[in-house]
Symmetry: C2
Subunit: 212 residues, 2 copies
Amino acid sequence: MKKRQTKGNTKRRAPVQGRAKKTVQSILEATAQVLVKEGYAKTSTNKIAARAGVSIGTIYEYFPDKDAVVAALLNSIVFETVKRLQGRMASLIQEPLPLAAKQWLHAAVDLLGEHAGLARVVVEQIPRLQEIAAVQMIEKQMLAFARQMAVESGERYNRSNLDAGMFLVVTMVRAAVIGIALERPSHLSAEELIDELVNVMVGYYNYRPLRR
Amino acid sequence: MKKRQTKGNTKRRAPVQGRAKKTVQSILEATAQVLVKEGYAKTSTNKIAARAGVSIGTIYEYFPDKDAVVAALLNSIVFETVKRLQGRMASLIQEPLPLAAKQWLHAAVDLLGEHAGLARVVVEQIPRLQEIAAVQMIEKQMLAFARQMAVESGERYNRSNLDAGMFLVVTMVRAAVIGIALERPSHLSAEELIDELVNVMVGYYNYRPLRR
DNA sequence: AAAATATCTGAGCTACTATTCAGGTTCTAC
DNA sequence: GTAGAACCTGAATAGTAGCTCAGATATTTT
């Protein structure tokens, strides 16, 4: 079935003519649809080809394997969205931190919410998510925020618990954002959950343990 | 391949003789090994049977399908471990909360850490994890802690932000525990991460926003 | 318009997969 | 010791997976 060992031919043609670019685009769109409808495990290159209205061979003209198609889809969605939000993001740096954090969180929750069906599949079914470039990019932004909040919160941190704190903040905020966007109980609004999440963060950064 | 629709025959024999119980046990052990070695997607009933040294038919004598085998494995591990920790858990209720939380977190991190290889596969590759009884059981305990801490922390909460806070705490602590047990960078000890996690919680519960 | 290149097709190959079932073996109860 | 239940076997069924490749079609370059 697989031949993961003999990687050999990971390179494929890049589309150069207009029609080929459209073909690739339709493959990505079909991939999103099949993923949402069938889940990752039942998504096959044959189904993608059928839905895209292209022959199976065409997929392998541009992608070395199934995972490459999925990775390309995710990268295209995230990079496109990040580009759209870039302006808003840039202006955030000037604002007072809790407010900036709040807006960043809103943007992140919205991004996931817009593609909820796909995001659900991606988050809970796709293995090796961390290896995808687009995901790494977003986490890097989160880390920047976390570090800045820690720095501004003053002298409590030494080298070691700064690292620990940042690791936790990144891990926990990621989970919270995903939870708010995809698993939020209907009686809670994203708005109030984000407010409360900011409270968690501010509470933590303001907190001074009695003695260490 | 599958016939999820026509569920029909979900019932199988339960082992009654000693030899059958041993067989089932060896199937579960083999399942754990194959899962760790191959990952969920590449785990097949045939591989499990081969590793367990039983014929493929035997698996279907006791389990209706592949997922049932995996679910049985997880339930057996968690229930067994929970039973082992039951005494420790019970005595926790009396202790002051931050300390109790800390010990509970330690137990949870240890539990995952003891089965790290398997836990990694389970957490990142197994779909519909929430449906497994053993998982629900652990989350329920977590919720109990979160609620008690909120109650003891006094009058800040109204109905709505109490719910929001609990949702966040459960979501975030789950992610933190998994992260500490499975993705902890080597220069950070579980000990200090747990301490810092308790700080996050206590900081949050003590925090009083300026105005609402 | 011919040659070169890009694009696309789909039958076909191999390697699995989950699951069944007819029949054999071992145990337990009478 | 014999009937019947419990247990176990493994060839067989029917299906899907990923992926290749020889060749057809379309576009661009010369």
